[in-house]
Amino acid sequence: MDNVLTYIVSGYNYWAALILIMIGMYGMIAKNNLLKKVIGMSIFQSAIILFYISISYKSNASIPIIAHGHGVADHTAIDPNLYVNPLPHVLMLTAIVVGVATLGVALAVLQKIYRVHGTIEEDEILESIKE
């Protein structure tokens, strides 16, 4: 029982990522304002990035940069336990840039909707479409 409790508490990073995913999904589903939906999508994206960066972390390790790694003739082998895993970092760099592109397109569509319908509230847009 104590072991299970330790396992649950030590994963607090993953619990925070899970809570943020739920907050983002709530924003996307329940909010009436379209800009709030876009903000919810942004929160969802960075929660997933938080999940991946939490995977790459290890204790008693350094940032993944090899000190004096260039210009040395006698290269010794590198101990991977001394560095955090850089592969999820690289994947999430791409995810951040894609997220900003998605945000830009979503905001452009939102401004076009505002120009056509005069509002960004979802129920008012639906009424405007019916007329």
């Binding site: 607090y12 009436n32 903000i39 008693n60 350094s62 955090v84 951040i96 840039v97 505002y114």
Partner: protein, 87 residues
Amino acid sequence: MILDNTILWQFDVLLLPMVIICALAALTIKDLVGAAIVTGAYSFLMCLLWTEMLAVDVAFTEAAVGAGVSTILLLATALHIKRKAKD
């Protein structure tokens, strides 16, 4: 070079509730310009969180792109449209 980072989880415990509070505030504030600013603060706190988790490359990309460009895009949109939201 071994970093003794046994102290870093305390930053983690401090930053994670602040991130969750900022996320909730960004969704509940009725003023859209305020919501955009709080989203920028959320991105900056995420950037601090990633520096603390030793992902420095992700951290400075987030600081430039997430906290910089996204906030400007959100602010520009919030200033173009009607500022008050219903919920």
